[in-house]
Amino acid sequence: MTGLTRFIQKIRRGSPAFAFGGYSFAVLYALVIIIPLYFVLISAFKNNTQIISTPLAFPPAFNFAKFIQAQASVHLFHAALISAIITVGAEALTLILAFPAAYAVARIRSRLAAFVESIFYLGFLIPGLAILMPIYMMVAKSGLLYNPIALILIYPAFNLSLSIILLSSFMRKLPHELEESAVMDGGNILQIIFYIFVPICMPGIITVLVLNFINIWNEYLFALILMDSDNRTIQLALALLRANQRTVDFGLIAAGVVFSMIPVYIVFILFQEKIMSGMLMGAVKE
């Protein structure tokens, strides 16, 4: 890392104007992000008059009344539980499907591999809105309507494209000697994948897991159509919180928003370094 430190020192010595301008811009934008989030966070502890009159003032007391009210109104905890179950199931399924496919596409050289990869690229082009109805009909016909299993089964399909492309570009960077030595030892493909690739690709896997977690936890449209009120996900509960309102009670909504965001932020903070290193190792490159 000495090269980098030298580099940084040079920068600092070299162009204070740039550092100043850069920091100003960077900090300004950071504030632009923080202020609305701060606003929502503190509003969850205030009543409506306080929110309107002094939006950015620190709450007078840490009053959890709004959270309790939100829980009573739309059963936030139950919704979070449903979301958690769906997330775990869908994540596992996505990995099981994507990892072998990513390996196949990245490590097996053939025109077929390129073709298969292009199929998954197609996934980015498909507008979710348009396939909402056909998927609904499919789920309904199979009798899985209003069952969280339905979401566990369909979410992986939406996340396959990103997962496979991330994982495969990650895998491409790895040296070929990995397989050659395993083959020398007489290993078969599955052993290679499992014992060698999975551990090495951990950063990439974690990146994929975290990105998928965000997508699944935050998904709204399909959950709305395929789940009923007993199996509401956290996002549906949040939307219901607003729809139930007769008068403005932004504190109530804020409480719901904060509650729905906690798990995501916890996961992000825990895995931040892993994600970044995963991305740095080339997961994010064409």
Partner: protein, 452 residues
Amino acid sequence: MNRKQIFLSISLLVIASMVLTACGAATATPPPPPPATEAPAATSVPPTAVPPTPTNEPVTLNIWHNWGPDDTKGAPLQSVFKDFMAANPDITIKDTVLVDADIPLKVETASTSKQEPDLVFSVLFDGVLNWADNGVAPAVNDYIKDWGLDGKFTDLALANFTQDDGKIRAFPLEGFTWPIWYNMKLFNEAGLPIPTTTDELIADAKIFREKGLGGPVIASGADGMGGALFNLIVQSQMTDAETIQAFGKGDWTIPNAIKGVELFVKLRDAGVFVDGVEGVDYASGNTRFFEGKVPMSHFGSWSYTDPAGVDLAPDVKLGGFPIASDSPWKSPVYYSGYFAKGVFVTPNGQAKLDAVKRFIQYLYQPDVMARFVPAGMTPPLKEVSIDKSTLPPLVGAALDLPNSGTPITTLDAIIPPEVGTDVGRIQQEAFAPGASAEKILADLTAAYAAAK
């Protein structure tokens, strides 16, 4: 991977998937015709609850509605369910609270796989208008006849739910009134009586603005509730037949329709609405009025017992919206009707007809219906005795509305579903300063024309 490969693969996949789908779709069958209704069972229903003959197998009735714990009618509904189940031990009611706006779509999509609930409490609007025709909720004409409910409903209630071809779409449930709320405290302070003509309203607006209160009328310009005020004002210049011509068929060349829109623009430009009305949403409008800051607003009977308005209620007077001097109506106009809720029976419900019958007969007893009156609901039955003294202030005041105003019918069943959202957007634009009457009329005409 070069361009040619991309192109080839995409086309291959598109074609392949189309072929797959076409094969699959060819075998899809149209929805089955609704089953024939059962033969008439027992005779007329006595006014008090009579323990019915219990059937052997337990039945569960699935009911979808939006009267959750936050709704004023939620508690009465739950008590009705409870008492019904106590009196009918073999029937279990499983009710699901949904967001109002989601109900039509969810019922329709559930219906395609025959998983819809047995009964649906829904507002009558948009796609719901087609339910009797497309089999989602077959007509209830026979049930009304056979279950002793014939003649029990008020004429307007039945009329609201009857299609042009005579099919009655559902059991009318919630009658509503939708008057203008006048904050008498503010009016008295300003020394003004309630305006009954639009000229008075414009004069009052000037006085209120000078006092620093801003425009006197608050409406949620940002969503459908404000749109209803737009409709009301435009309708105040038209007869019922003309309303159907314009709002129903899209003919905005009728002189009175043009006058109606011009009246709206005139009021808006005279400052009758609060500033920024086009950005006010329903919850904001409610809050500001209930805080006592705004002289007039336009809320329905579902708000009469809103806990947020309890403090203000004694100061509120209900009335119609002022009319222009050349209006065909005789006194201030307000909306009144029964579209707010109907009980729809689905094919699944038809399969449990006995249980449904018992529930409906129980629900539509005058004293059971009376439980909902304090929540602000006008019951759809003719004989519901209401003791005014026991009613919350606004609910009681609403009963006097016909004395000071003229009820007219809402446009829920008149505006065609295909053009509903376009009209909503045009209404929101109409509330913003700068939209001329010509532009609004042109937009409306174009919207209806495009929908054909």
